[in-house]
């Protein structure tokens, strides 16, 4: 019977990955056939590039301890959104005066648009994601120390 053969195929779990990969491949092929997709122009957190700014490519406006204007989904839920974007630590302020080519270091230092998104407006993402790291590491460390 075909059904019993299928069930035997599925019950061997070495084959399940192949099954899933096949499904993904088929779906991706269909996806390519149904392109192109429209790209919505009204995006959240759009970026504009100002090559002359010392914060290039992360110049998003605002002065420290003032609010920068960013396009968030629910402005009423994060009343203080924009302050982190505009903030520069003393170190990054000095760096921005020193050289115009260190924008990435400045934005990665506390304060900046990505800290705004990752910690403030979409903070729950980061909670879940550090939890995944924690759980995965707990599995690895448990097996490393007490495995069979």
């Amino acid at each position: 019977m075909i059904i019993s053969r299928i069930s035997r195929f599925i019950s061997n779990f070495d084959n399940l990955l192949a099954l899933f990969a096949g499904a993904c491949a088929v779906l991706a092929v269909l996806f390519v056939l149904f392109l192109p997709l429209p790209y919505s122009e009204d995006q959240l957190y759009p970026k504009e590039i100002d090559e002359s700014s010392p914060l290039y490519p992360y110049e998003r406006g605002g002065t420290p301890f003032e609010r920068a204007d960013i396009h968030v989904q629910y402005p009423e839920n994060s009343p203080f959104a924009g302050y982190v974007t505009a903030y520069l630590t003393p170190f990054s302020l000095a760096l921005s005066r020193l050289t115009p080519h260190a924008g990435t270091t400045i934005v990665a230092h506390p304060g900046g648009i990505l800290d705004e998104i990752l910690y403030n407006t979409r903070g729950l993402d980061t909670v879940v994601e550090t939890t995944i790291l924690f759980i995965a590491f707990a599995i690895g460390s448990y097996l490393f120390r007490k495995g069979s």
Partner: protein
């Protein structure tokens, strides 16, 4: 970056990638890979992201050295 330079560094990228794919010996593959890296770093510098270029230029050799640790075992 003008067209000539773009062509030169693009040629480095394509040559490095092709040689990395086609070689058999792991050492030769790693050497070709560093040709590819040499073609990629100027693109980062050309955009003016100098801090990123510095960090990537320091990180890329570490990755190669990690690979070398495994290659030793595979060598005859």
């Amino acid at each position: 970056m003008n067209e000539l330079l773009l062509g030169a560094f693009g040629a480095l990228l394509v040559l490095g990638a092709g040689a990395t794919i086609l070689e058999h010996d792991p050492y030769k593959k790693i050497i070709s890979l560093s040709v590819l890296i040499g073609g990629a770093i100027p693109f980062i510098v050309d955009r003016g992201l100098l801090d990123v270029a510095t960090a990537v230029a320091l990180i890329a050799p570490l990755s190669t050295i990690f690979i070398l640790m495994a290659v030793r075992r595979a060598a005859p």
